[in-house]
């Protein structure tokens, strides 16, 4: 069999675009999983070598290593890989909405190197956000290799993003949901199918190399009393308020620091790193991503006073590192702060005595979820994330109550979501997933009016009250007035719609003279 025979045979194999997309999703998952494994290993090995924070070998190295790491990371981003700067989530969204899913390969290398050095040297930032962008980069690279269409390219970046974040958290459902909820704000079947395949294959790959260990090892817990839910709701309120304050603090810090001179590009990360090192002399737990400390806290290593100190210290150093534009993500610090604050609340509830007494680790998990929901405004992701990391079904009920409370409180206190706020500061106007969820399209029932005189419609030219005005506009280009009929009784005419009515509903037309159908102008 010669090579031309093979080519002839291959030519007869037809792979449709959706099938190719699903196969690519599998490849994206595996590549992203491998990349995250290497990223994870690099961060860990760097932290052993430079910090020795937890091994206690070089205590005073803590003082300088974050500063040096931050400067090196910024140098890499600014001089070698300029496309790797900024928030991974926002950069991925930019790629989807502004550049047809294009994420350069240098972004992957830049994010990998800069963030590994920055986090590995002890700066208080997390590896998930860079992992998300690296996943999107891998997806984009593969999409380009296989010459995907422009629309498919726009869809492939979120697939990679899901794979990246799923592998980073070791939680496939969280990866899927976060991309659906925050990056895409869309639940189309094609996207869901590919994202699921990518997220699962990434997590499987990651586990094949790093083991099946969950992100957190949580001792068993059970809901002892229904009245405990009140305490969880209170934690939700507190988590919401704290997360709103946190976003606000980052907003102010970023704006103020952004006005400083050019020295800030290297000077601020160095100062931030040094301050992190200073805090790290007393609280080494706050350095780096901090998952080990969360694990220790979940096993009751810290008294409630220590939990409070750790939450405050981590908030401070994260605020400094993140506002100084040191490369790294915000997910891990948010989980850390939420866990410590939640644990402190739980311990205080225990001290008060009359309140129901679940174990402190339950409050930590709930606190983790509330802070995540409040900062990132991804309540469904936050619920499933806690569920996945704890592998406890019992936790779902408290987490649902607390996280949704935190979400609403945070939204009320600080209406701009974290990623949108960052995008605004960077001068980019990206569609906010939260707004997308909130804003529903206008429908015919919001614009139609009573029938003034019956009109004869061409066959098929009729609208239903729940049709969107976009669909109505297409028909109105063919006919001036269109009848609106009931779906159940198609002979029953409920009203009619003209171009004027549509314009009025959109708020761009002069006030119409015809009376609106009573009770129908609901919006």
């Amino acid at each position: 069999v010669n090579s031309s025979d093979w080519k002839t045979r291959l030519r007869t194999i037809k792979v449709s675009e959706p099938q190719r997309f699903l196969l690519l999703a599998l490849l994206i998952g595996i590549f992203s999983g491998v990349l995250v494994v290497l990223f994870h290993i690099t961060i860990d090995v760097l932290s052993w070598g430079t910090l020795g924070a937890l091994t206690g070998r070089f205590r005073y190295a803590r003082l300088l290593s974050p500063a040096l790491g931050a400067v090196a990371a910024v140098l890499i981003v600014r001089k070698i890989f300029p496309r790797a700067k900024g928030s991974g989530v926002n950069q991925t969204k930019m790629a989807i909405y502004a550049s047809d899913g294009y994420v350069s390969s240098s972004t992957i290398a830049g994010k990998f190197l800069a963030c590994a050095i920055s986090i590995g040297s002890g700066n208080s930032l997390g590896p998930e956000d860079p992992s998300l962008q690296m996943g999107a980069g891998v997806a984009s690279r593969l999409g380009r290799l296989f010459h995907l269409s422009r629309s498919s390219m726009r869809l492939i970046a979120p697939v990679g993003a899901a794979a990246g974040i799923a592998a980073a958290f070791n939680t496939p459902i969280t990866g899927l949901l976060f991309v659906m909820e925050e990056v895409l704000a869309d639940w189309s079947a094609t996207a869901v199918g590919s994202i699921v395949i990518a997220a699962v294959s990434a997590v499987v790959t990651m586990r094949a190399f790093l083991g099946n260990e969950p992100l957190f090892r949580i001792p068993g817990f059970e809901l002892t009393d229904a009245s405990e839910l009140l305490v969880y709701a209170a934690i939700g309120v507190l988590g919401g308020a704290l997360s709103a304050a946190f976003i606000h603090a980052i907003e102010i810090a970023k704006q103020r620091l952004g006005q400083l001179g050019h020295w800030r590009h290297y000077g601020l990360p160095a100062i931030g790193g040094f301050l992190t090192g200073v805090v790290g002399l007393w609280f080494p737990e706050v350095m780096g991503a901090g998952y080990d400390a969360v694990n220790s806290a979940l096993h009751g290593q810290f008294a409630w006073q220590v939990l409070v100190y750790l939450a405050l210290a981590k908030t401070l150093v994260t605020l400094i590192c993140f506002s100084a534009d040191t490369p790294g993500g915000m997910f891990a610090p948010a989980l850390f702060i939420g866990a410590m604050a939640g644990g402190a609340c739980g311990a205080i509830a225990h001290h008060i005595g009359r309140l129901p007494a679940a174990p402190a680790e339950a409050y930590m998990l709930v606190g983790m979820g509330t802070f995540f929901a409040g900062v990132f405004r991804a309540p469904i992701t936050s619920i499933f994330m806690v569920f996945e990391v704890s592998a406890s079904y019992v936790i779902i009920l408290p987490v649902m109550i607390a996280n949704m409370t935190a979400y609403f409180v945070s939204r009320r206190l600080h209406p701009t979501a974290f990623f949108k706020m960052l995008a605004q500061i960077e001068g980019v106007n990206l569609p906010s997933a939260e707004e997308k969820r909130t804003l529903q399209p206008l429908r015919v029932e919001n614009a139609m009016r009573e029938v003034t005189k019956p009109v004869a419609s061409a066959a098929g030219m009729r609208l239903y009250p729940d049709d969107t005005l976009d669909a109505a506009l297409r028909m109105l280009s063919l006919q001036e007035t269109i009848q609106v009929v009931s779906r159940i009784y198609p002979d029953r005419v409920l009203g009619e719609l003209t171009l004027d009515d549509v314009q009025k509903a959109y708020g761009i037309a002069p006030v119409a003279t015809a009376p609106a159908a009573p009770g129908l102008l609901g919006r």
């Binding site: 590549f31 494994v37 290993i41 090995v45 091994t55 080990d292 096993h299």
Partner: protein
């Protein structure tokens, strides 16, 4: 539509890249795991050394570090939990132990440590439950002696919770797995405390047969006979014990008591009617003496005075018939039961009288 030749090249390129990255990740992760495991075991060894030398705080620190590098090492977690329990850092210890219990609910040591935590927190019921689980769950063969220690701990907890039947059950188990005669002897005496005479008797007979030169089994057997009312056999065993070990104070005391009881017991098998009358007289005399020499009880208690009067009449009668033995015994029993009315400073105690009265009263 993709150009086929281009696609083939692309697929080959991607597959090569995939193979390369998998191999790279494989090497990297294997070296990473090796290093982690090495660091973990280094800290574990250091922690074990510290724990062995009583430096528990340092041991805890080292075990925590070991766990950071090797979080799936149950041995490290257990060692940390054990040190934490010793240091009274109970919440953290409990966190680690509950995780271990989730992973392996049948681990005896984990359950025991959880029981110890419950006991330290004053939750005796839970402590018993955990210790029971610990005793009946798995222990590695080399840790069997520790399992026995746990059972002894359980016995103490059950004693404190006033659950004698369960204590006896555990003691029987302890006897079955006792490594030597000394421990069996201890179990035997513990069984005696809870009235498990037949089990104790079996143990002491075995011990006596195997080591006749040991005073302990003789004394234990004597106590078994004493408890079952066979005072003559008991006296025989106590005498034997004293002969084997003349310095055994306990045997001496038991022998004195047994002699006293034998002298007072009117129901001793094989005695004639005259002897029975004499012992009944002795018993009543002893009771009256005890009640009249103690601190006076309720002044002017006419019933008490009448009872004492009746007893004195019985004792002071010029001629005693053998049929009066029963009356004397009844009077002695009644007086003894009412001794609280005669004596203000708490109930009078006299082991020999008490034993004889209990026997007469059929208790």
């Amino acid at each position: 539509v993709l150009a086929v030749s281009h696609t083939v090249r692309t697929i080959a390129y991607v597959l090569t890249a995939l193979a390369f990255s998998l191999v790279l990740a494989g090497f990297a992760s294997s070296a990473y795991h090796r290093e982690r495991s090495l660091l973990g075991s280094r800290h574990f060894r250091s922690g074990s050394w510290s724990a062995g030398h009583g430096q528990l705080a340092d041991a805890v620190d080292q075990f925590r570090k070991a766990l950071l590098f090797a979080p799936d090492e149950e041995q490290y977690r257990l060692a940390l939990a054990e040190s934490l329990v010793r240091l009274n850092y109970l919440p953290e210890a409990q966190g680690h132990l509950e995780q271990l219990a989730d992973e392996d609910p049948s681990n005896g040591r984990v359950n025991y440590l959880l029981g110890e935590i419950a006991e330290k927190r004053g939750n005796r019921k839970l402590a018993i439950e955990r210790c029971q689980r610990a005793v009946y769950e798995y222990w590695p063969p080399e840790e069997i002696p520790e399992r026995r220690q746990v059972r002894w701990h359980l016995v103490r907890l059950l004693e404190a919770a006033n659950r004698p039947n369960e204590v006896v059950g555990e003691l029987i188990q302890l006897n079955a797995s006792a490594p030597d005669a000394k421990e069996r002897s201890i179990v035997g005496f513990e069984l005696l405390k809870y009235g498990a005479l037949s089990e104790a008797g079996r143990i002491f007979r075995d011990l006596e047969a195997n080591s006749p030169k040991d005073a302990g089994p003789h004394r234990g057997l004597g106590e078994v006979y004493f408890g079952s009312g066979d005072y003559i056999s008991a006296r025989h065993e106590f005498i034997h014990a004293r002969r084997v070990d003349p310095n055994d104070q306990e045997s001496t005391q038991w022998l004195a008591l047994t002699n006293a009881v034998v002298d007072l017991d009117p129901l001793l098998p094989g005695i004639n009617a005259a002897e029975r009358l004499r012992r009944s007289q002795n018993l009543l005399t002893r009771v009256v003496h005890l009640l009249t020499t103690c601190s006076p009880g309720v002044p002017g208690d006419t019933n008490a005075v009448a009872e004492l009067g009746t007893a004195n009449q019985l004792l002071n009668a010029k001629k005693h018939s053998e049929s009066q033995a029963d009356d004397m015994q009844q009077s002695a029993v009644q007086l003894w039961r009412d001794r609280g009315r005669f004596c203000k400073g708490g109930p009078v105690t006299d082991k020999a009288v008490e034993t004889a009265i209990a026997r007469v009263a059929g208790e």
